[in-house]
């Protein structure tokens, strides 16, 4: 019963989509008609239908209705309620339904919040957005329907992959999707604005809200994913340059560039084409990411069940959208204001352009690293695997000029400024930063050449952004975000430079010495839980001053039968102690990995600060 409700409401949403596309193209042809009310009501029906469909899937998960194939494949009666609910979007079909839900609701919000703007622009945005929605609806209904019926009804489901049973991961996909889908609104509205010839200050002011909101969600979504990887995957790192992580990072670079460019458009009415190109690129990258993850063309921990027909569908759909965007761009490009505004070399505009170049460079590195293996394999059949060293070697050295520009850029004025006003304070701070990093390098005997300038500029940016809090020039949101970023760079540098790792096979009672610490394996006990059995070990790590007790776990899930390692992490404001162990069969030995990771908390905290800056910027514009 619940399956049918879900299924049919999707079909109604599909009809609503067709109707809207038909109506909105009508409106554009004869401008006189005002169909605002009609479009509004159909849009509400559509959002409501998708909402009903989504809740019927959640309901099916909650009551463990195994007549539903998606529920059967991804749930189990013994699973806690929280994970039953989050399980509904922890799989391919359900996550697409969530995606669709966000698409329709965002469009609805867009429509009711843009009443002051040109009618044609709003209706065109609806048209483009409905093209995306119809694509997703067809995709869901014909290749990944979450409401397929099973008969005879199975007694028990096959369970959710245990490593996905984690609070951070339960909310990671929805948050990330809010970011991804937000970019679709930016895409549709950029195309609509281009067609209407209104790529100007007013549009910039309006769309900036959507850019900021997508950017916030994308940032927090990526953060949650990293936190999950750090706690759950037990490799002790938080970013692995795994293709699927890269896929979320690419639109982020693009969106960050857009975030800065839109300010220039808003203030100075320049960089119009570039803003449109960035808007198109951001969404194409989000969709391209979906393609890479869902088609199974890349294998990684995030890939859901592979089915080539799905991949081909998304790929064709993506091609249609990109071609549409390119056509519209080239046809309507002449409508863009061609008035020549002179820009000066030393000005805020240029500084933001420089920020964009760096973003594009980082984006290219990640893009090439992610898809080059696919290209190479298709063209000459050879396989390569691109790992973290590639990204580190290409990105890290370029952080040096990037940090320098980031220190100087935000201080410049619009239109024209001069560099001669560098004052005594700034110079002193610069010298101080160099001195600190020089001391660090000397004291710890670090041999890596780039560390010195990286630390120096990291500290310089850090000091400058702190100093900025006392000046009245820039907005509070920018101060917080930029300060957060400097903190982020510093914590990553410290973390990467001073992390220590120890690994050994130990049995109960063993002691190992590592640096100035003693690691003692105290005991191990077995705890029975509802849907898993847990081996909890107790380790004591002691140095001269204090003793830390750590309790890592190995969980043996029964449905599906899987082992997961839960790392024990002791965090304080200075460092993290990370310990994880693995079972080696029968002879009492366990493989133990201990890591000392400085300033780990600050990495998370600084990303939160960066997002807080975004949130403030969003709130301020709403007044």
């Amino acid at each position: 019963m619940i399956n049918q409700i879900g299924n049919y409401s999707l079909f109604i949403a599909l009809f609503a989509s067709i109707f809207l596309i038909f109506q909105s193209s009508n409106v554009i042809r004869n401008k006189s008609k005002n169909l605002d009310g009609k479009i509004f009501s159909v849009l509400s029906v559509q959002s409501l239908m998708v909402l009903i469909s989504f809740f019927s899937l959640i309901y099916a998960f909650i009551v463990s209705d195994f007549s539903n194939e998606t529920v059967y494949n991804n749930s189990h009666t013994t699973k806690p309620l929280f994970y039953k609910i989050s399980g509904s979007w922890g799989n391919h079909e359900g996550s697409l339904l969530l995606w669709l839900l966000v698409l329709t609701i965002f469009l609805f919000i867009f429509f009711i919040s843009s009443k002051k703007l040109l009618n044609k622009y709003r209706i065109l945005t609806v048209l483009f957005q409905e093209l995306i929605i119809i694509g997703f609806l067809l995709f869901i209904l014909f290749t990944s329907n979450p409401f397929l019926h099973l008969f005879p009804i199975p007694k028990e489901g096959t369970g959710l992959n245990p490593i996905l049973q984690d609070p951070a991961l339960a909310i990671h996909p929805p948050i990330l999707y809010l970011g991804y889908v937000g970019t679709s609104i930016i895409f549709s509205s950029a195309l609509a604005a281009l067609v209407c010839g209104m790529v100007n200050k007013i549009w910039a002011k309006h769309i900036k809200k959507w850019i900021v909101i997508s950017w916030i969600f994308l940032t927090i979504g990526i953060l949650l994913g990293s936190i999950w990887a750090y706690y759950e995957l037990g490799w002790g790192g938080f970013w692995f340059w795994d293709p699927v992580e890269n896929v979320s990072l690419m639109p982020w670079f693009c969106l960050t560039a857009l975030f800065h460019t839109i300010i220039v458009l808003e203030k100075r009415n320049i960089y119009q084409s570039w803003t449109i190109i960035l808007s198109i690129a951001t969404f194409s990258l989000s969709m391209g990411g979906t393609f890479l993850v869902r088609s199974g063309i890349l294998n990684s921990i995030h890939t859901f069940a592979n089915d080539p027909s799905r991949g081909i569908f998304i790929l064709c759909f993506l091609l249609v959208l990109v071609l549409l965007a390119i056509f519209i761009f080239f046809i309507f490009q002449k409508k863009l204001l061609k008035k020549l505004t002179k820009t000066f070399l030393v000005s805020k505009e240029t500084a933001i352009m420089v920020n964009n170049w760096f973003m594009m460079f980082f984006l290219s590195v990640v893009l090439i690293g992610t898809i080059y293996p696919i290209f190479l394999e298709v063209i000459n059949g050879s396989k390569i695997s691109i790992g973290p060293p590639f990204y580190q070697k290409l990105i890290v050295p370029f952080l040096i000029p990037f940090l320098l520009f980031m220190a100087v850029g935000p201080k410049l004025k619009w239109i024209k400024d001069s560099l001669s006003k560098i004052n005594f304070n700034q110079l002193m701070l610069f010298i101080l930063s160099i001195a600190i990093s020089f001391l660090l390098v000397k004291l710890y005997g670090i041999s890596y050449l780039l560390i010195l300038p990286l630390f120096a500029l990291g500290f310089f940016l850090f000091f400058l952004t702190i100093k900025d809090f006392f000046s009245k020039k820039s907005t509070l949101s920018q101060k917080i975000s930029h300060f957060g970023f400097s903190l982020f760079i510093l914590s990553i540098l410290f973390n990467a430079t001073f992390a220590k790792e120890f690994s050994s096979n130990m049995k109960v009672g063993d002691e190992r010495k590592f640096l100035n610490k003693i690691i003692k394996f105290e005991n191990i006990k077995i705890i029975e839980k509802n849907n898993y059995k847990s081996l909890v070990a107790n380790f004591k790590i002691s140095d001269e001053k204090n003793i830390i007790s750590l309790n890592p776990e190995v969980r043996i899930y029964n449905q599906p039968r899987t082992l997961t390692s839960e790392a024990a992490i002791n965090s304080n404001i200075y460092s993290d102690n990370f310990l994880v162990f693995n079972v080696i069969k029968d002879d009492g030995y366990y493989n133990v990995r201990y890591q000392f990771k400085p300033l780990m908390m600050w990495i998370w905290f600084s990303i939160i600060l960066i997002s807080v800056g975004g949130i403030l910027s969003y709130l301020k514009k709403n007044e």
Partner: protein
């Protein structure tokens, strides 16, 4: 004119990217992101089962093609089931199979191989089981498909029809 050229180039480029991805979908997806965990410790020294000669594992692993390491013991019942599949693999004659005899008596091991047939190119001895641990094993039987010192695929538990098929697929695909 200039604008048209740009337009055509961008369209052609999009179609090219589309074509590549389309082709990419047809290929099997054994793209494995490189992780340290997958690297195998090849500097281990083993004794040979028959003549007790010392051998470094590295010498036995082919550098630019696949090898298989199989950890087994005569006392392990699943190993007995698995043995037929190893012999099938051996008969294909495409890949070297290195056996590691885990916590076993020499006489039992030799008897086991003479009863059921010897699929291994080399049988190494791991008397106390510690070397298998260093290879990352958690029990017997375990089978690693290795290429360039990297574990491409790790099978915990006995081989069966499906796993055998997969191994053959991976090897075949790589050879082409």
């Amino acid at each position: 004119m200039n604008k048209n050229i740009k337009f055509i180039i961008i369209i052609l480029f999009s179609l090219f990217v589309f074509f590549i991805f389309y082709k990419g979908l047809e290929k099997p997806n054994n793209y494995f992101p490189e992780k340290n965990l997958n690297k195998i410790e090849t500097s281990l020294v083993f004794k040979n089962l028959n003549d007790q000669k010392e051998i470094i594992l590295e010498e036995l692993i082919n550098n630019n093609s696949f090898s298989i390491i199989n950890i087994w013991a005569s006392w392990c019942l699943p190993c007995r089931d698995e043995h037929a599949y190893l012999l099938k693999l051996r008969n294909l004659n495409k890949i070297d199979i290195i056996g590691i005899n885990y916590k076993d008596k020499k006489s039992n091991a030799i008897e086991f191989l003479s009863d059921l047939g010897n699929p291994y190119h080399e049988v190494l001895v791991d008397l106390d089981g510690t070397k298998s641990i260093e290879l990352g094993a958690i029990g017997v039987p375990e089978t690693y498909l290795i290429n360039n010192k990297i574990v491409v695929k790790k099978y915990v538990g006995p081989l069966d029809d499906i796993k055998l098929k997969e191994i053959i697929e991976i090897i075949k695909y790589e050879k082409n």
